[in-house]
Amino acid sequence: MKRLAPALLLLGCLTAGLNADVPIRVEQLIYSLTAFNGGGYSSSFALQTADTIYLQAGVDNFVSVRKTLVYWWPITAEWKTDTEALNQPFTGTLELKDRGHTRRLSLQRYSYFSPGGEAGSWKVATGPDADAEVARAAKISDDYFAAVTVFQQRSKEYDARVGALGGRIAELRREGRDVTADVNVLNALQRPMAPQEPSDYDVPPGPVQEGFIVNLPSGEFSARLINPDGTILEGSDKRIIVYLPRRTGGVGYEVIPGDKWTRPEESKTPSSVLYVNGSTDVYLRPFFEDEVNDLAYEKTLSNQSTGNPSLYRWVRTRAVPEARIQVTGPDGVQEIAEQAFAVEQGKGTGLGYTIVPFDSQAAGSDQAPNLSAFHVPVPHERSVLRFRARNNGGQTVPGSERELRVVARSALRPLFAGLAGFPIVLLLIVRTVRARRGRG
């Protein structure tokens, strides 16, 4: 035992620090942000140490000031909030100043949502309207789920009835008796219809919240919170940079290769070229996009992100409605309409996916297509396809022109590698000619 003691002591010393690593929580005054990013709303927060908040101009953004606990989460390398332990929102007035002009905003109750059938549009309801909109959405949702419950109950009854009738018909047939009456009853049975999913909202309103609705023109503002007693909340000073997109109304494409449904690419820059190896067809989904500053956009998504202030990037805003794609290739010009597709997982050890046209009759009423896109057949050999989006009036949507190139390894590669030695050959020729002239 005496011999073991030093070893145990050493082991004890070495393992003394091996406890679960609990992040240290620090109390901070933060700005909670729900910022419009062009296509929707992003939730983020600005730490007490962050001096600048970035918001898009001319749209409603939601800001609140609160005291909470924050901690560093090394797994995702970002700061997180622990609002369960502490979440104390501050009331008062948000004061925003730019060159000599002061705006004061009061807290408002709000909820935001995207109405159905208006792709990409967002609405904000405030005060009693927000309560009414949330109640309306809740009623629509409740009605739908009640209808689903009834449908499931009826489906169950239908299946039981069909099963019972089937068994009875089989038994009668075995006994050699007449089954006409039962077959007629079976044929007359109607499968219950699944209720239509409500289309009132693309994104329904969330619970009503309280915050400052910040809708500003582009520029730089200083912000601070003024308490109800007129004093300034310490640590609430921030700079707000409000920016406009540099360009709007561009068209980008989501490009889904036939064999990699889970790995779509995006073609955002109007002059960009799509390069493929021609092994499979591609499926396109056009969308409108705006060009915004990279840093401002990243900071809008998450105040902790970084971006490049000297670059601009295209960001998706909404789908191009009722579009058609015109493709010009080796086989001439063809107009492609949007189609519904189902994605089937590959069987066997090959894995992967296959995209096939969606058959609504075979799929049944409760199955929806996986994908709605424009199918562009891609030639297997080297070729160039040019495509553009056209609106329902037949006009080309500006900025939608793209080129798709099928590339393949060229047989001329050795020749071109050899061409790189041409300057050396030229040098030898020049030196030889000069040497001969010198001798002459």
């Binding site: 540099r246 360009r247 490009v255 290769p257 036939g258 064999d259 990699k260 790995r263 779509p264 690419e265 955002k268 820059t269 002059s271 960009s272 070229v273 799509l274 390069y275 493929v276 190896n277 092994s279 499979t280 060009e291 990279d294 840093l295 970084t306 971006g307 490049n308 000297s310 670059l311 601009y312 990037r313 080297r382 070729s383 160039v384 080129e403 190139r405 099928v406 590339v407 393949a408 390894r409 060229s410 001329l412 590669r413 071109f416 590698a417 061409l419 790189a420 030695g421 041409f422 300057p423 050396i424 030229l426 040098l427 020049v430 030196r431 000069r434």
Partner: protein, 303 residues
């Protein structure tokens, strides 16, 4: 060298005499440069770089497009660039294909060699008294300086054109597009090179000997490059802030600033801003050349 050159003393005649002397000397220097192996080796290196990187790009294309992970070089390069300048930089750099990046990479060794060789040669000839000898005879310091600049400009234009043709041939071979960004980059690369050659002339005029003029020229090039890279970097906010502060003062004399102005204008689709960038790039080159003229007039050509 053809007809005899006699030096007039003033006015328009002096200008045309100087231009004539500069053209004659430039022609002579160009012949000498084309007889040395350096430009050929650099050109071959540029072409090899272009060949390997364009074929690497094609090898990285699969059914969903360009995937840099399929090529060792493109994988490392895109990760390093994304880490340094952000993913948007890489996306925009390669959105039209590889040729804009290849133009920059393949032209770099050629143009670096041309400008460095020119600066070194001027310094060496000044030290050896060759320029002074010329100044006593048919030419003066300014015409020699102008000749050196003219030679660099013509050779740069020729080599950029040669490399652009090779890249065009590569693009046709692999069915890749050169892209409008490549076309827009051609005048920028040429004028950038011209501006740096003018800086080379200024360094040669200012410094006492070949080694110091070379060190000064490389130092200025590195300084401008560090400032430009530093003010666009996203990896470190501290570096960017420091670079931006220094840049705010120095950027007006940096050819790289005007080249990046052209790039920004191209990205934003603003033709007037792009043309302004080109004009300012040319102006900074001409200003350097004018500075070199003033220095050499004041200091003379004696080492």
């Amino acid at each position: 060298m053809g007809r005899e050159i006699t030096r007039p003393m003033t006015g328009k005649t002096l200008m045309s005499w100087r231009t004539h002397a500069a053209v004659v000397i430039a022609r002579r220097q160009m012949t000498e440069t084309l007889l040395s192996p350096g430009p050929y080796v650099a050109l071959a290196a540029g072409m090899l770089i272009a060949y390997f990187l364009s074929t690497g790009f094609v090898n990285s294309i699969d059914s969903s497009g360009f995937d840099p992970r399929l090529s060792a070089f493109w994988s490392s390069a895109s990760r390093a660039l994304a880490g340094g300048f952000g993913p948007t930089f890489v996306e925009r750099l390669l959105s039209e294909g590889p040729f804009f990046a290849l133009l920059a990479l393949s032209c770099a060794p050629v143009l670096f060699l041309l400008s460095v060789a020119s600066v070194f040669r001027f310094g060496q000839e000044k030290s050896a008294g060759a320029v002074e000898l010329l100044a006593y005879g048919p030419a003066d310091g300014t015409s020699y300086l102008l000749a050196s600049f003219l030679k660099d400009a013509v050779l740069s234009a020729g080599m950029v054109a040669f490399l652009a043709l090779y890249l065009l041939a590569l693009s046709l071979m692999e069915n890749l597009a050169l892209g409008p960004m490549f076309i827009a980059a051609l005048p920028v690369v040429f004028l950038l090179c011209v501006a740096f050659c003018a800086y080379g002339a200024l360094c040669s005029a200012v410094a006492e000997n070949a080694a110091s003029s070379l060190a000064l020229f490389i130092g200025i090039g590195v300084f401008f490059s560090v400032l430009q890279v530093g003010s666009s970097v996203v990896a470190s906010q501290g570096v960017r802030a420091a670079a931006e502060t220094v840049s705010a003062v120095v950027q007006w004399i940096s050819p790289l600033f005007y080249a990046s102005m052209c790039a920004r204008a191209y990205g934003g689709g603003s033709l007037p801003e792009f043309l302004l960038g080109l004009a300012l790039l040319l102006a900074v080159g001409l200003a350097s050349l004018a500075g070199a003229h003033l220095v050499i007039r004041r200091k003379g050509v004696r080492a």
